[in-house]
């Protein structure tokens, strides 16, 4: 079971108040987690990745185990701690600055 932490506005859209749990078949990659997340919560389609291109939206970041995976390709394998459920996969809204 994969644990995914969503930012505030996406939790509201998905109508969840805590981290979400996903069953994702191996191999567990950045792309397969996002696919599973969007399958379980279709309202999130287009909010994290663009429709069509499936590219990460510019102001969304992916963190896991204190690593920034935002610029990694979709095929990137996730850390074992995320696979085991020990650590969450974080979808983060980038800082606005100011």
């Amino acid at each position: 079971m994969i644990r995914v932490v969503l930012p505030y506005h996406l939790r509201n859209l998905a109508r969840v108040d805590q981290e979400v749990h996903l069953d994702v078949p191996p191999p567990l990659t950045l792309g397969s987690v996002l696919d599973a997340l969007e399958a379980q919560y279709p309202v999130l389609r287009g909010t994290i990745r663009d429709h069509g291109t499936m590219k990460r939206r510019p102001f969304v970041r992916f963190f896991a185990c204190q690593e920034d995976l935002s610029h990694e390709p979709a095929e990137t394998m996730l850390p074992n701690e995320v696979v085991s459920g020990k650590e969450p996969f974080l979808v983060v809204g980038a800082m606005a600055g100011g």
């Binding site: 930012p7 505030y8 506005h9 996406l10 859209l13 309202v43 389609r45 287009g46 909010t47 994290i48 663009d50 429709h51 069509g52 939206r57 102001f59 969304v60 809204g93 980038a94």
Partner: protein
């Protein structure tokens, strides 16, 4: 007794303001979609409890929300706005061609007769239509064939901000785009042509009378006279008596003919309202005085409406979608400001009252008159 419901979109959420037909006391809802930009909300004329809302965010993109109970509860519907075919290119700021890229929905226009039929105006400019209550959207690509390669964004983006539907002639649609101009379809959106003859943009365009490229800020129409259009252009207030085939200026004695919204009285098709703004460089009212100007002659002769509006130290703006009228007698007029105020007049503009003081910057106001 009738009630009035105002749908107010702001930079940080939507608010619903309600009052009875006297329009003296107003109740303000808690924020809907708090923290998101609500460019526009609008109710279906065919079913006033069916509402549509454009919810967007620089972080998380576009959502369309729909309500079937007048805004008490909402559900997300379709948010995939895909340009038809290969999107192609339009003119970019540096003169090169730039691919069409979807950014947000500026305006939603439900059909007068079918609650499930709704149009959406997009940035980058395109018109989308849903026939299933917003679940799926299809572009009407003929619009971008009307010299779309020559359209170019203004500083505020290339948004399709106005959609006018003729209830008695469903095949006719008008749209207006910043900064491309006004366009008309007479076949329900399949084919389009620019209708900008008579517009002059000497400070914005190398050819002041170009067929496309004019920075139209808003157009308005009275439902009883669908061939008469009023326009607030970047500079100039304009009028057409022939469905946009030709335009003539009716700025008359306005203190400034720059502005954003324009609207028509619900019962007097020759009574129109604008809010003059000092200039394109200084987006606030002239002399720090917030004045709505009313013409009862369809333009040219204008009178300032000031009672109840701040007449000193006022430096807010009123955006293009932030003015609306109700259909009560006397007609109610409403507008919202970038300072977060919503002003209401229950007597056609003779006097005004702030019915909300401290909202986030107001992007849009729509009025619904309910039995």
């Amino acid at each position: 007794m009738s009630t009035v419901r105002l749908l107010v979109g702001t930079r940080k959420g939507a608010f619903i303001l309600t009052s009875d037909g006297k329009r003296g006391r107003w109740k303000i809802s808690q924020p809907h979609f708090a923290g998101w930009e609500l460019y526009h909300l609008k109710g279906s004329p065919a079913d006033p409890h069916r509402l549509y809302a454009s919810q967007s965010s620089g972080w998380f993109g576009q959502q369309i929300q729909r309500s079937n109970d007048g805004g008490k509860t909402w559900e997300t519907v379709g948010n995939e706005f895909k340009y038809d075919g290969t999107p192609g290119t339009h003119q970019w700021y540096d003169g090169t061609q730039h691919p069409w890229e979807f950014k947000r929905i500026w305006h939603l226009e439900p059909s007068p007769s079918d609650p499930d039929l709704v149009y959406a105006g997009a940035e980058d400019a395109a018109l989308f239509r849903s026939t299933d209550g917003g679940r799926t959207w299809k572009e009407l690509p003929g619009l971008r064939s009307a010299k779309g390669h020559l359209w170019s964004p203004g500083a505020g983006g290339m948004g399709l901000h106005t959609i006018l539907l003729d209830a008695n002639r469903p095949e006719r649609i008008y749209v207006a785009i910043s900064a491309a101009g006004t366009f008309r379809s007479d076949d329900a959106g399949t084919t389009w042509r620019p209708v900008n003859r008579g517009l002059k943009s000497q400070f914005e365009l190398p050819d002041p009378q170009a067929e496309v490229g004019h920075c139209v800020h808003r157009i308005a129409m009275h439902p009883s006279r669908p061939d008469v259009l009023f326009m607030q252009k970047h500079w100039d207030v304009m009028r057409s008596n022939d469905a946009g085939d030709s335009w003539h200026e009716v700025s008359g004695n306005l203190p400034s003919d720059f502005g954003f919204p324009i609207d028509v009285h619900a019962h007097e098709p020759e009574t129109i309202y604008v809010v003059p703004i000092k200039s394109d460089s200084e987006h606030f009212p002239p002399d720090g005085k917030l004045r709505v100007y009313r013409s009862r002659s369809g333009g040219n002769e204008w009178e300032p409406l000031t009672k109840g509006l701040p007449q000193k130290d006022c430096y807010v703006n009123v955006l293009r979608d932030a003015m609306a009228v109700d259909s009560l007698e006397p007609c109610g007029i409403y507008f919202g400001t970038t300072g977060g105020q919503v002003y209401a007049s229950a007597n056609g503009g003779d006097s005004w009252k702030a019915i909300a003081h401290d909202l986030p910057a107001v992007l849009s106001v729509e009025a619904q008159t309910l039995p």
